[in-house]
Amino acid sequence: MGDRCRFVNALKGEQGIASVFALALLTGLTVVVGATAAMAQWSIARSQVAIVADLAAVAAARQGACAAAELTALAHDVQLVECSWQGTDVTVSIGSPAVGPAARMLGAETIVAQSRAGF
């Protein structure tokens, strides 16, 4: 009962109320900053893999061999997952290990990007 009275009396004053609001706002902002950083890292990694997939597909289409796609993938430290031909079109899949908190949150182990090119 005594504790409850002290709590009610403390709430009557305005001392500390701004700090409580500020702390809540800071906590929220810190979470937003963390999420922003994680998503930025994820977007950059995805974009990089997509670009390498494009380059590998064009290389394979121009040289008419999947070896060119593999060479391009290895030069960018990623792996060629699949390379298949349909007539004069080549479809290339590139995979790279997913790292970072966003990947853990999304449950993704690898980032895979696919691209198609023809000549």
Partner: protein, 134 residues
Amino acid sequence: MSRHEQAQDGQVRNSKRTSDDRGYVIAESAFAIPMIAVVALIATAMVFVAMSILGMQDAVHTAARDIARGVPPDAVRSAIQMTHPHTTVTVAPTPQGVTVTVHRDIAVLGPLLSGLSVPVERQALVPWETGVGL
């Protein structure tokens, strides 16, 4: 105590509480608002850096493709520097293909604090097109 007297007593207690607490909100806000501003500034800077990195990735990809197709490296270099100022572009041709590297020190807070920068480097290797190469 009549209702009028009770109301007067309540007003006196309210005004006493206000006078006791006067200044606390301002003092606490003076400490808290700059902290919030700093966190918001960090978030903005991170988004800015991420956008710059994505832009550089696209630029280096396009540049490598252009050089592999036979566009003169100087033309490609000036095109990148027009869209991404303060970048250093390195073109390294090899028998297998061309490697283009773009380096830039991204000023995290723009001109506000030019000393605080993040070095970013992006690289792309593209095999030569048929009929082009060393």
